[in-house]
Symmetry: C2
Subunit: 510 residues, 2 copies
Amino acid sequence: MASEDSTPAPPTPVPAPAPLEVQAAATKDAKETKLPSRPAAVVLKTPKGTQDWFGADMIIREHLFQTITNVFKRHGGSPLETPVFELKEILAGKYGEDSRLIYDLQDQGGELCSLRYDLTVPFARWLAMNSKDRIKRYQIAKVYRRDQPAIARGRFREFYQCDFDIAGVYDAMIPDAEILCIVVEVMEALKLDITIKLNHRKILDGLFTVAGVPADKIRPISAAVDKLDKMAWADVKKEMIEEKGLSEEIADKVGEYVQHSGTIQETVDYIKADANLSANDDIKAGLEDMTLLNAYLGAYGVVDKVSFDLSLARGLDYYTGLIYEVINKPAVAEAAAAAGGKGGKSSRKGKKEDPASQVGSIAAGGRYDNLVGMYGKRTIPCVGISFGVERIFTILKARAEKDQRTSEVDVYVMAFGNKESDGLLLERMAVANQLWKADIRAEFSAKVKPRGLAQYKSAGDIPIGVILGEDELAAGQVRLKVLTADSKDQGQLIPRENLVEEVRKLLAQL
Amino acid sequence: MASEDSTPAPPTPVPAPAPLEVQAAATKDAKETKLPSRPAAVVLKTPKGTQDWFGADMIIREHLFQTITNVFKRHGGSPLETPVFELKEILAGKYGEDSRLIYDLQDQGGELCSLRYDLTVPFARWLAMNSKDRIKRYQIAKVYRRDQPAIARGRFREFYQCDFDIAGVYDAMIPDAEILCIVVEVMEALKLDITIKLNHRKILDGLFTVAGVPADKIRPISAAVDKLDKMAWADVKKEMIEEKGLSEEIADKVGEYVQHSGTIQETVDYIKADANLSANDDIKAGLEDMTLLNAYLGAYGVVDKVSFDLSLARGLDYYTGLIYEVINKPAVAEAAAAAGGKGGKSSRKGKKEDPASQVGSIAAGGRYDNLVGMYGKRTIPCVGISFGVERIFTILKARAEKDQRTSEVDVYVMAFGNKESDGLLLERMAVANQLWKADIRAEFSAKVKPRGLAQYKSAGDIPIGVILGEDELAAGQVRLKVLTADSKDQGQLIPRENLVEEVRKLLAQL
């Protein structure tokens, strides 16, 4: 198990099973050293980097997924479900050196398969297989990476990705603007205070060219610039000069450009005011896009949520246009308050990779017009967003911790009375059934004769009690009572036929 | 790929990669025989026995899962989510000879893992790891079996299971009755006409004993009896005598008993009327359970949905009490109408296995009080139900086929007018945004200047159109129109500020 604690090594050939005589020898050794000869007890745990989810956590997670799904559907998103494993060759060559993190299935005869590493490659494979030219698809599903887990920081080997992508040929920036509108709607529904940092690959590349960065150094310099949200400019500059071999003059020019940010209009004006920049063809094309985007975000009323930040680069090579990262403002403020700047940023390889590992970044994406072409004959331009749901879950959980319920049941049906001998079980069943038929969530003690106080305890954090007594039932009545700890409510007697209506009223008030 | 077409063989050791010189030789051969020297194009498909889900199918599947989830939550069920793979040793020894169908992950260093084969073992592992004594948990998730797929018949290698189980010590038959109540609620919500066949393992075993079946033949004879829903009695009898070595006299006695079915009360009375049967201790204990169950199902008003059928045996060894199968009545009628009785039933190994492969059976389960004890020190009695959701999906799909929508969007925002030159894009965006903010699902053409008819086509089966014109907008109005094919509706002009309200009214009428 020691090998588990180091960074995963590249896949090594699976060793053949030990020959029988070696196995026998091992068994003999075990006996001689007085190890127990019975098979060791099975260790009860989930595999490394995975966990079970239950109770209060699941309530928060379901709320999160439901909120996001509602917004996706509101915008015409259709769910796509793909198998958890793909043919190995579908994933081959898509993730660079991170391919070593892919989980392979054992060769048990038949096809060689691997667990999906993200949701983008399966989507691209599906697009290439099907005849859809235009599609808004979303997928919320688990992906698998043999990475070093850090569960406390929300880094798992099995974790959810939550992607919305618009594929197809449309007029410029219309889908891009809708993606940003979706981001704002999701974050407002989750009550998260965010800023969306924007940039445009063509503008960024043009800017490097104008500054004098050689073509073959644009991607490495871009990667260095991308660290500006974690490192001081002086350190980034040092990396550019010492590690990437840029001259100090060019590095300073790059620094001058990329440290600019502001509203879309401000940054567009800043670039236009520079004759060198505004003469570059890539930059011209990018500015056209950004001007359209500004108008469209205005129509959606979300223009104040974005910042056009020339230092945003995103790690991935395949972005071709608009790129964005969603920043959780309180998290950034908190991080800034803590002692600043140390700690490297983890790898950003893999599309829309790991926003959760970046301070404050809880969603990210961009336009990638050439990726789908890798899988088939047709090229389908795409723009998308991936929500870092494990990170968002951590934020929601921290916020909810105090009064988070562990049950979603609304009513507990109890029996009380003078005669402890009669638990009124059939009557409790019938009343619970009355509530179920009205789609009200209800439980009762699964004892024939439960004790009174035990029923209160079993009710847990269920907010409403319906209390049955023999005399009240004979009079066609039941007692309704708020069960919260601080309630002095003695309850009210109501006609049994009004129970559903009265419970609904009470629930609406809670 | 030929090996894929035979029944999966037991797992074989993974062959080590071919030595480099062998690989090189193979490449050389390929060149010499004029095979293309470029790597072969990747085959775009999902792995055998799996498929993507999208569009109309997903709408039906989400409706199915949501309906079941609602009922589960109404009864206090809590969702449990477990990893898609478990430590290999957790699954070891749990599935008998079907273990060969388990998918293993490749050994890439670290722990050895396998994909889950069902949801019961992960649940039992979770119960053994945690301190919960009583729990109603549900899980709707995919499981994996390297079985021979038959996708047309709904048999996949990756498929959903949908389990609700109540674990813990409660008074007799109270959880069992609630499970059956849940079944009826789910089936009513899905508008499926069902019967629940019931039996009790103690009664069945007692009955075999009284008939004279030797103790070591009870399970094999039970398995033969279980085929009575597919085979004629004469054939089952033949199997008992010729294959299982029962005497004709004992076989006839078994046949006399197990061919009885009726209401719970009728079958209880039938057994009580037989002095031999009612003297057996197992049968006495079973009759007590069935009498309680009858009373509880009466309180839930579902007693008319069940049939106490002494031929129901269920394949699994570990059931200890009540067992049940849910029969889709129209499917049974259809099968009876077709030429009768041929075709063997597929294996029933594995807990709550494969109800979809049995004619008409769409859910199944029972009480298993000793299973959890296998994984830990504590024994936790359980009772549960597994819905055959792939089979139920097939039924729902066949029913829905005619008018099933492929989109869930409610409103399409369009622009028309005299001036083809102006597509009113910003206005369409603003109106769509107005609808989104009100949680109404809306789309519009992602073109700056879409043509009028093209917009109608793009609307597809979206039921409501909002039509913008320059003059109307200037007057603060928009046109609302039903878009269904047979609609003669010319639409109505409404004030734009009433749009949300009017759309909601129209949606409520559709």
